[in-house]
Symmetry: C2
């Protein structure tokens, strides 16, 4: 069948089938399949996606020439089945022309109905149907649709007048008519004439009356619509490659608008919102396809049960409902029964919840489309687990039915949809951390703390956040920043906390001095209420009611399933027992990253930290570190106790020291007083710490290598804590991780200090415990020299945040300056801080795993960057042969699901 461009279907036969989605598109493949399983479908044919590619290569004329013969043959096949002839003046066949890509792109591309009508065939249709109004309404609709889609009559923007609507309005005014439905056959005839005149006036050409000319125009317009703005945008958002192209489906028209025994509707085999196993949907009597979704008339419910539930919500009494909004089940019981059976058949056949379209023409039911239905995260999980229990699908399929990213919806509070509809959007930022939050604007972290203590809900609004804001972030309901990307400090910390955050809202101008934020010319003061949607990045004025996520039993069941199939283990990034508990609750199998520096900010510790940083010499540093030792030991004890028996990877101090020192004069003066040294000295020392590019500066193991006493103290705290917890019957698996290693000498130097310090503790306590020493792989040089580094490492943990920064040369704090343009121009497919750059960074990860394991065959490899919680990146980690991923506690379920899917995909 190579080179075949057109595939017919109809009357329980089809040249294609449901598996041919690449060639026929989803709609075309399913239309074929429905025929093959005996579902009534109007006959027609599908022009393949390959012809779309030819269209973009050779242009319109050549493409028509290439496909003409096959299309004519297919049309003849349809004519024969229907007993009408395309273009025949007496008994004309009318067709619909619809797009249909490999992946569903609802409403993105164009559709043309009633094609084949002209001044002559319209008369025959009127005669044959005995319904002149129907015939002329169909004709004027066709001219309008064809004019818009093929002839470019559509207004450029929404503000411009639609020339066709203008004509209708004029006519209604002239004739003093209110509703479209009041237009008579005569009026519609008049409209058809005026429409054609308008086309000629604007395009300079007559409206095409030759049905074949109409057809070629429509087919090519559908191909063209693959590249229209909304389709391009949709593909970008949904990662659909442009080269896939669309197929075109040409089908004999059936009419839901041929009177009161005709109808059209859409339905779902289960509830797409909740997943409940109930058939549901909407229909309209005497209406054509698009009317149901257009929202001009109120659609009615298909089932009796659905209708009653709907009426209840609308506060409509049963009597009124039955009279004005009866269900299809009541109005056309025979057709309903057939529809019900077909939907059951389709769901069973395709083993998934279906989204179907149908038309009833004079009592006869026709199916126009079936496809897997879009659903919410909650519905996704419930349907998968229900169908598993119903034995409609097996375990692997249930897992594959659940998209990891959609699980996110189940993990955060959300706005009440009704309240959201009424809300006023004021700006848009990046959807940095999902969830919904409503609170009063506060600009400073300590105010947030104060207000929270008073029981106020706050939204912390900052240009950017820093580790100093941590406590304020913890107590705020949501965080809004004017700068920073998806992996800015605010975003990363918020995601770690499972807290709503919108970052990088560039339109917002913040004045700390005036305590105001200005956006779109309007000023918002401290204390004003705003609301954030962290899942969309939208910012609203005022309060919006939120609701808590529902954690159903199905969700837990699904998670159990994932563990059965996943190869990758999933750990969490957690620094304190509270986070560790959340992570364990989500099924984390260890901590992959405990950032010790986050422990440095609380309470009085920061003073000791600062004392250490500002000390003149090693002796001074050791004095300050001695104060920190018991505190850190206590922190680790808490963590080890919580993670009893699970591994905990503790990273040694990583950020540059200037992150810990005060940056304002008042604070510096306070510190000088506390430490009993001059303000000037403090100031000079702090200034000397500043760096041009802190990301590439004095941080990571470079600290421990210049100040070995820091590593000594941290090691001592870790080992002593582990011994203390074990002494009380706990089980500790501690992995000490050296950050920012670039060459093996750096790692060896740190490992020597760690081993020496541990040996000293062991000698002192006359007991030993096991521990491992490993390293982050986050500097490109570490990746390319991983064989050497593995000599001293018992594990690798890929810090893909920093590895991305350095491999791509992107500062994640600054990338918002050009990233939007890059995404828009297609110079990047994704934000590389969100989705792992498999081709670049991924190459280095694979190389490092390979080289590391040439040195140590069973080297444990994991990832602890933000990517560890992003599904496609988790999939990459599976293929790269990592042992585990580690992510924010709130993303653990997503990672577990992604890991299971990757393993199932690989076919193991």
């Amino acid at each position: 069948m190579e080179g075949k461009r057109v595939y017919t279907f109809g009357n329980k036969c089809a040249e294609g089938n449901g598996k041919m989605k690449e060639l026929l598109g989803g709609k075309g493949a399913n239309l074929a399949e429905m025929n093959l399983i005996g579902i009534p479908v109007p006959p027609g044919f599908t022009i393949t996606t390959e012809v779309c590619a030819e269209f973009y290569k050779h242009g319109m004329t050549e493409t028509i020439a290439i496909m003409r013969n096959e299309v004519e043959r297919a049309m003849a096949y349809v004519e024969k089945l229907i007993g009408k002839k395309f273009g025949d003046e007496k008994n004309p066949l009318l067709v619909s022309v619809r797009s249909g890509a490999r992946a569903s792109m609802p409403g993105m591309m164009d559709t043309i109905l009633n094609l084949g009508l002209n001044d002559k065939t319209v008369v025959s249709i009127a005669d044959l149907s005995g319904n002149e109004r129907f015939a002329w309404d169909s004709y004027r609709r066709f001219i309008q649709m064809y004019g818009d889609v093929v002839l470019g009559m559509k207004p450029e923007s929404k503000e411009d007048h639609d020339p066709f609507e203008e004509i209708i309005d004029n006519l209604k005014e002239r004739k003093n008519i209110k509703l479209d439905t009041d237009l008579k056959a005569e009026d519609l005839k008049e409209l058809a004439v005026e429409f054609k005149n308008a086309v000629k006036a604007k395009t300079g050409k007559e409206f095409p009356s030759d049905p074949w000319e109409q057809l070629w125009g429509a087919v090519c317009a559908v191909f063209s619509s693959w590249m229209n703005e909304r389709a391009v945008l949709y593909r970008k958002l949904n990662n659909i490659p442009a080269e896939w192209g669309t197929a075109v489906n040409v089908q004999a028209m059936v009419f839901g608008n041929m009177g009161t025994n005709s109808a059209t509707g859409v339905a779902f085999t289960r509830d797409a919102g909740t997943g409940e196993n109930v058939f549901n949907g909407e229909y309209l009597v005497n209406a054509q396809g698009e009317d149901v979704v257009a929202g001009i008339r109120t659609p009615q419910q298909i089932t009796m049960q659905g209708s009653r539930r709907w009426a209840e919500l609308q506060c409509i009494k049963e009597e009124e409902r039955a009279r004005k909004y009866p269900s299809l089940e009541e109005v056309m019981p025979a057709a309903y029964k057939e529809l019900f059976e077909i939907q059951e058949h389709l769901e069973e056949y395709f083993s998934d919840m279906q989204d179907i379209e149908f038309t009833i023409q004079e009592g006869k039911l026709w199916m126009l489309q079936t496809r897997s239905g879009k659903r919410t995260g909650a519905a996704m999980v419930k349907i998968a687990m229900d169908m598993l229990r119903e034995k409609q699908i097996d375990e692997k399929t249930a897992v594959m039915r659940c998209e990891p990213q959609k699980l996110d919806e189940l993990l955060h509070p959300v706005f009440d949809p009704a309240a959201l509809k009424k809300a006023d959007m004021i700006a848009k930022g990046l959807p940095a951390s999902p969830g919904a939050a409503t609170g009063q604007i506060v600009f400073f972290a300590d105010d947030a703390e104060k207000w929270a203590a008073e029981g106020k809900n706050t939204i912390l609004v900052r240009v950017e956040t820093s580790p100093e804001d941590l406590k304020g972030m913890t107590v705020a309901r949501g965080i809004l920043t004017a700068r920073g990307g998806m992996t800015s400090h605010a975003a990363v910390v918020a995601r770690g906390m499972g807290k709503c955050c919108v970052s990088g809202a560039g339109e917002i101008v913040i004045s700390y001095k005036d305590r105001t934020m200005t956006v779109g010319g309007k000023i918002y003061k401290e204390g004003d209420w705003i609301s954030l949607n962290g899942s969309t990045g939208l910012i609203y004025t005022g309060k919006i009611a939120t609701k808590d996520p529902e954690m159903t039993g199905d969700f837990a069941e699904l998670m159990k399933l994932t563990d059965k199939y996943a190869h990758l283990k999933v750990r969490a990034n957690a620094d304190v027992p509270r986070d560790a508990e959340v992570a364990m609750g989500f099924g984390a199998q260890g901590i992959g990253l405990c950032r010790t520096e986050h422990m440095f900010f609380e309470g009085d510790r920061i003073k000791a930290v600062r004392e250490m940083i500002l000390a003149d010499d090693e002796e001074g540093r050791r004095k300050a570190l001695a104060k920190l030792l018991p505190i850190q030991r206590g922190d680790f004890e808490g963590l080890f106790k919580t993670m009893n028996g699970y591994p905990v990877t503790v990273r040694l101090l990583d950020p540059p020291l200037h992150e810990f020192v005060p940056h304002f004069e008042a604070e510096m003066r306070e510190m000088a007083e506390d430490m009993g040294v001059s303000f000037e000295k403090i100031k000079t020392r702090i200034e000397s710490l500043s760096e041009t590019n802190p990301m590439l500066g004095h941080r990571g193991c470079r600290l421990g290598n210049t100040y070995p006493e820091i590593t000594e103290m941290q090691t001592c705290a870790i080992i002593e804590a582990a011994m203390n917890v074990e002494a009380k019957g706990g089980e500790v698996h501690v992995e000490i991780m050296v950050p920012l290693v670039g060459n093996n000498k750096e790692l060896k130097y740190q490992k020597d200090i760690i081993d020496k310090t541990a040996a000293e503790v062991f000698a002192e306590r006359n007991r030993i415990i096991k521990y491992q020493v490993g390293t982050m792989i986050e500097v490109p040089r570490a990746a390319v020299t991983a064989d050497e580094i593995a000599e001293y490492a018992e594990f690798f943990s890929f810090g893909t945040n920093d590895l991305t920064q350095m491999t791509l040369g992107f500062s994640r704090d600054d990338v918002a300056k050009f990233l939007p343009v890059y995404l828009e121009k297609g110079l990047l497919k994704h934000d590389p801080f969100e989705v792992l750059d498999v081709d670049g960074v991924g190459q280095l990860v694979r190389e490092a795993v390979f080289k590391g394991r040439t040195t140590k065959e069973h080297l444990k490899c994991g990832i602890c960057g933000e990517h560890g919680g992003e599904p496609s990146s988790v999939e990459f980690c599976h293929y790269a042969g990592l042992n585990y991923v580690s992510c924010s506690p709130f993303r653990v379920p997503i990672a577990r699901l992604a890991a299971a899917r990757a393993a199932i995909k690989q076919g193991i």
Copy 2:
């Protein structure tokens, strides 16, 4: 001979030879070789470097056991030749024990003379020599030397008293003696006793009297000295691996201190300072080895001619000279004649200028050492080219004799050595750009310009420099910065200019407000004179006279030779015709990097640049760019004219835009007025440009991709300039280089703009010219995806500065914070911004070259980072298969020489 640990020599026989430097060390191998060619050398034997390795593996006792038999056999051989017996009380053989590594490490390790003396043998020596004083002096010297080196009597620091010197001082005081030479035999006897007592008092053990025990102790002490602090430091500075180890040479003693017919001396076969072909050196009558270099007595010249020249310089009259400081030629004509013939023989035999040591014992000449002599850059070139003309060496050898790094001395002004001796050093920074400079302190670039206009010599002193300081840097005699490393802005720009610069002088505290710099508690004001030595990093107070480098004809000859052998072409990094001319003068074969942004700072252009940056929209930017177009075109015309026929690689705008805007309020206000907009607007816009990590920010092609109009303007300027120059008969080979590409889409996007713009210029002028489009490879991701990038690139130029920053995660502006510690602790071997990190960055370079050429077989590859002028990096570039290196104009000769040496080394 495998496993042989000891090699004897003596009496024109030797078990080793001159080629066995790895095993016998340089000294041992040459001692053997001298024997083989009939030079009189005291007989002895060499213990191999492999024994040194055994010593570090097994320790002293085992090592002695391993070598004992062979050493005894060798000693017997020496005894037989000399007719004395080691340890014999009547006719004792005395020996010297000296270190001798593979590479010469003068004065770094320990030497022991007169070994074999004890209370009994000293008496025999006195009897045999008939010189009691000589015997006891030798004995007390031996105890002293052995005590220091083997028994640990040496004081810990220079401040502590040497116990032996203290004893001498006490005795002299007691006996009222002034000079050591006035000590009588009796006194020396007394000293020997007291010395031995002191040893016992400190070590608790008797001084060893058994010559064999003495020998084993001395041999092991020499092995130990391989790891002493100064040896470790020397190796680090000279890149000598620790695993080489040292050999030990044991030789029968000959005595230059046996009376007035004895002498000892060192000499060079040619002048080590100038390269002049004259035998020269110094000697002392009646002296032992170390006395000549110890500086207690004034050494005399060996040759008559040398002696006269010396006296002239010292203003000593001929009569006095001949009486007090006669030459060896005068004093011992026979020995001199023999010495002269031997040095001629040695130089001819080794085909290189030799540094020799000799001793004359009672009229008999003995050679103690010969080795290739260290020499200045000027001498290096002259000697190589002289010897080539003398046909002593061939062309390749002449090239290999010249170390590229030493050429640097020939390329910059230097301090007058006499003046330097008297100068006061006040601080030390990094030797960022060689040369010498004297001038008045100035803190601001515009003051430097003003003062220069008044004819003043200035030293621009800044915390750091920025592109705004460019003009000031151009006119200053030297640049001093308190921050920044070897590749900071100041260092890079200064090297580019061939201007003296000392960077990162951390001790200096600069107050711009007070216009002072403080160092070591002393305040230097604006206008005070200081001097900088950019070759050493030393900073002096006051003026020091400088002299211009001498460019001899030999230098030019050498450069011609390099071109004959080098595979790599050498281009220069130059932005303006002036620099290009310098580069051409040094033999550059093109421009490998023209940084267009450097053109943006001069005069009124910066205003247009700022207008472009601060424009609200594309239209505004285009307006400003239109002003820049003719200026840039003019710049390029100048450059293309200068480089007539040679390739010129023009890099599109690279630095982040905030580098061009003013950072002080006054300037911002001025700008606001100039542009007719509000100060607030200017301020806000400038603030919005600031970045956390500018290195990884909005720069390079990210600018051209967000603002394509910048690329359009620059392309237009380049192409039009090339056409204009060609129209006037010039020949232009222009290569347009896109910076900071990370993926091939970015390059394609830029290339499309360039090609479209060029096509428009061609269409307008109805003529076309050739041009190439290529890219920098400086982002690690570009290196790992080089196969894809090569699809759109006609050449790759490795920007190893940035590639190093990103691959290692080092910010070159901040690296001074930990680099010194890293170098000290051996965590890094070199500053990676100075010497290319072959194992890390080099892997990426090789990978990119390989991948790039899988896509385009003959892809032109070069390097334009600072490493392009560093010899070992140039060698790497040769092996990596690059086509060219590009470096600062003043380093072009160095790169040419390095390129030739690499090719010769490879044996092609």
